[in-house]
Amino acid sequence: MGKGLSQSALFVVVFLACLVEAVEALTIVLAAGMARGWRSAFIGCLAGLLFLVVIVVAVGPAIASIPLDGLRLFIGGLLLIFGLQWLRKAVLRASGNKALHDEALVFKSTLAAARQANTESSGAVADWYGFTLAFKAVALEGLEVVFIAVTFGANQHNIPLAAAAASVAVVLVGIAGLALRAPLTRVPENLVKFVVGVLLAAFGLFWSAEGAGAHWPGGDAALLVIIPAVAVYAVLLVALFRSRSAVGTPRVGAPL
């Protein structure tokens, strides 16, 4: 597997992961803005982004300084655990054993809750509830992306590319959100999460085993087998666990 392909995979994984998390954060920020006023929601959003930048600046160089084998074992192991969590949820959703993520529903319920909350001001923030809602959405959704971007980027020795992929996704979602002033319900989030889960698990599996001392047949080219194999296995599990007593019937666009 050439370096170009690894770098492309880095960009795609971080971009897709960031895309879905940004869409989720946007839904909450929009609800906060519409229900509580845009100023507090905007300040909360900026504070959340600042918090994430501080984490990248603090943690990124520390991770990049770990020796490669140790890095691949530690970070690869974390990525594998993280990827299996994403994949597990994606399989549960696609097989009808967990409700599909529905931005319209999240937006509606957050908006209703935000409209009922009391108003409290603090310093420059006119509405503390709106600020906190937007801050938490950006900080918590973004933390997963930061984790993926920093770990993936460190393994590929290209944190700037990971940061660029994340930035492109955030800017695109931000522009679309500003233009529409509505949650981005057309982004196939459940399918994207499935793909990200497959890629995280596959790369985590490859790097962690290599870091533990294993030598893959074919070297880096083994990834060209591992990625489709993980995808096929996940699809088979969806078919196996597809349940008649489903929480929600998988909609068009969901894997299987």
Partner: protein, 78 residues
């Protein structure tokens, strides 16, 4: 103070380990076994983590699917 530390630890536990601690435990055990085998034998050991993942994922999905079905059934009875 103690409750804040507890909340902080719980957040990171939920963030990294997630809904099923067995996945994290299984991955750590698989990587430990791979490391030991790689240093003590000349056999190829790349398959160890694969086998563990092949077993862990369906077991975890099955457990969650059963819980979900049980909750649906209980909700239907109430």
């Amino acid at each position: 103070m103690i409750s804040r530390v507890g909340t902080f630890c719980r957040f990171w536990y939920d963030f990294i380990v997630g809904d099923d601690w067995r996945i994290a435990t299984g991955v750590v055990a698989a990587l430990g076994s791979t490391a030991v085998l790689a240093r003590t034998t000349t056999l190829p050991v790349w398959w160890v983590v694969i086998v563990v993942v092949l077993i862990l994922l369906p077991l975890s999905v099955r457990r969650a699917a059963r819980n979900s079905m049980r909750q649906n059934r209980n909700a239907g009875n109430n």
